[in-house]
Homo-oligomer: 410 residues x 2
């Protein structure tokens, strides 16, 4: 028997309890033990819940209970969750979480604290929901230099973009629908503005490099200003429009990191992910490209990854070097956004002259597109690799009030 406690009985936390009950016998058959949820901490009351008898509001009951080996943190956020995770690790308990905000903000500190207390801090469920990605990246690709990672990492925005693309709904309508279906929070900022995807690519990049990547340093754009016309351009380009989190290793050992909507060719493997699905493409120098695809969110899928980590904690006595904390580097790992190369669709008011565009962007190539909206010009700049983000911003600043949108090509 593996005894666990769950901190936070919300969507994922209650899913963890349900899987431990529903799949008790398959877990028992597979590893010779079942998982027993001994305590559940929540400030709310759940009098009619099947686990009502395990509920407590007193965290000390959990931390002082030597029978509890693994603590599941499904509170979310980086405040109470941070305090309780620290206390759990200091109490000598493994901690397993789906909390990307906490891992992205305090990963190195919590991993170090786990190491000092000879326990594990695992977070497979923090990226890609139930899709196996953290363990494959850190273990199956352990013999690879990771050259790049690109992911559709947020199911909410992918649902919105898919509805806009396939059904012609506008952003506001698709967001409202996502909220009514429970795919988006009432306050959708973290999803819609790319913050959630940014935390996830930061976690993946930290695993790839072994060095802590601070998510707050990553250039991030969300999808608020995507319109039906942009979807028409996606069609013209033979692409889908996706919110992409991307890590690229550069030859000088720095890296490029960006979160932004991008046009992705329709036959690119990553474009397979529509709706709430996620897809993550990893490029290793020996493996080549591998894709991981599945439900990036949801109660049972995410809980499934949490329970897998619980099992690993309980069974493994792997040497501590394997889960060494991410190093904090004193040099700048992330290449300045301005200096990065870019290729983008640019939509300008038709009052801008073609000569002015040619002159302003003379360093790079321009490929004209048939306009998808009245009164505008559209072209792809930078396909020859001769355009930087700062070049592009400078060019666009030459036409104040005339820029309808600009969206990068993957």
């Amino acid at each position: 028997m593996i005894e666990i406690a769950i901190l936070g009985y919300g969507v994922v936390g209650s899913g963890v309890a349900e899987i431990c009950r529903m799949n008790r016998s398959v877990i028992q058959n597979r590893i010779g033990r079942y998982i027993h949820v001994k305590r559940i901490l929540d400030i709310r009351d759940f009098p009619d819940d099947p686990f009502a008898d395990r509920m407590t509001k007193d965290a000390d009951l959990i931390f002082s209970d030597s029978a509890i080996q693994v603590v599941v943190e499904t509170i979310g956020g980086a405040e109470i969750a941070y305090e309780l995770t620290r206390r759990a690790l200091q109490s000598g308990k493994h901690v397993v979480t789906s909390n990307k905000e906490l891992v992205a903000a305090f990963g190195p500190e919590l991993m170090l604290l786990a190491q000092e207390n000879n326990v594990k801090y695992l977070f497979e469920a923090s990226v890609g929901g139930g899709i196996p990605i953290i363990r494959p990246l850190s273990k199956c690709l352990a013999a690879n230099v990771i050259e790049g990672i690109a992911g559709i990492l947020n199911g909410t925005t992918n649902f919105i973009l898919t509805r806009m693309e396939q059904d012609g709904i506008d952003f506001a309508g698709a967001l409202t629908e996502a909220q009514s279906l429970g795919y988006a929070e009432q306050d959708p900022v973290a999803d819609v503005d790319g913050i959630d995807a940014c935390r996830k690519i930061a976690i993946l990049a930290s695993i790839a490099t072994g060095q802590y990547i601070d998510s707050t340093l990553i250039y991030t754009e969300g999808i608020r200003n995507i319109t039906s016309e942009d979807m028409a351009y996606a069609f013209r380009l033979g692409c889908k429009l996706k919110l992409i989190g991307r890590y690229q290793r550069l030859p000088d050992e720095t890296c490029r990191l960006i979160v932004a909507p991008m046009f992705v060719p329709r036959d690119h493997p990553i474009a397979v992910a529509d709706g709430v699905f996620n897809a993550i493409l990893v490029d290793g120098n020996a493996l080549g490209e591998a894709l991981f695809y599945g439900q990036g969110a949801g109660r049972l899928p995410t809980a499934s990854a949490v329970v897998a980590d619980v099992i690993e904690c309980a069974l493994s006595t792997e040497s501590i070097s394997r889960s060494a904390p991410w190093r904090k580097s004193d040099r700048t790992l992330i290449r300045a956004h301005d200096a990065c190369q870019v290729c983008a669709l640019v939509r300008l008011d038709r009052s801008v002259s073609v000569d002015s565009i040619r002159e302003t962007l003379k360093k790079t190539s321009i490929e004209w597109l048939e306009s998808a909206a009245e009164g505008e010009l559209a072209f792809v700049a930078g396909a020859d690799g001769e355009l930087t983000e700062s070049d592009l911003e400078l060019a666009l600043s030459a036409w104040p009030g005339k820029v309808v949108n600009r969206i990068r090509l993957y």
Copy 2:
């Protein structure tokens, strides 16, 4: 330092040595140790090879060397490889392999022998080449009942089918091309007749069930009789034609297993794999569907998975229950092929009367297709779920010499 020996210096074995050298520093940074290839066993001579100084023809030099922790078996086949794997395990050395034939034939015995000697027998590279699938399936999905697995598991046949579909080449021409590119062996039987895919789905099904699935009991068809006309029907059906290995858990705790060419809808995630790529879809009762995609073969991709297993062996002291051998069941796990439900495209000589077809298949639905070849009738039978494999075979036997082909729908 992790000291290893490589048995068999062919494509994968030499790739393992190359990765240990090429990615030495990234491995050192990640796990605090590098991998040193101390000995390489091969009956051939490689006087000009960079590893020529480690070559030996004497296996005892390896098994008696207490410094060697991990033995990499990349000989292939189930004869010499079997003997040497037994001796390595009995010598107290972990064994890592890419040899699906050996795992499919002797997996339970070798896993048990490893357990008795308190070492590991790992085979991530045996399925999907470099694609992480064995470890994700056994660890990341440990909390799931595995409801189904479907895979494009053989890169050679997928290359041939992709060339036939996209470029109109016939089977013989595509096979010759695959051979000249090194994707197919001079004796292509194991690939073309589905034997390789069959071994791989047997390994995956054994992991899913925890019980040994004997690959020789799995109904298996290859792709030899696939023609350009079949590709035309694939197009008409909105499908791609793929060699699929499939496991389905049935409600009575038995399972269905089959390897056969199947029409797969073009927008199905598994259809993303063209050319030498593989894709494996896993359905867990908590996770839902997850897809794993990448290069299913090739020197460095496959070697990358082998080296990941080497690292796991060297670092992990995970309790033995996790890698418990597959149980051998005394009851029949695999449902009789004849009794399984099927939906298939049937191509008949036009001399067969429509009335005869309707009468012979009156139990099930018939959907007529526009013929893609002169002088034939084509229809899909069994879309209503009312047709078994034996029903279909019985029906086809009513028209001796008149059946052009019959291919299942996924």
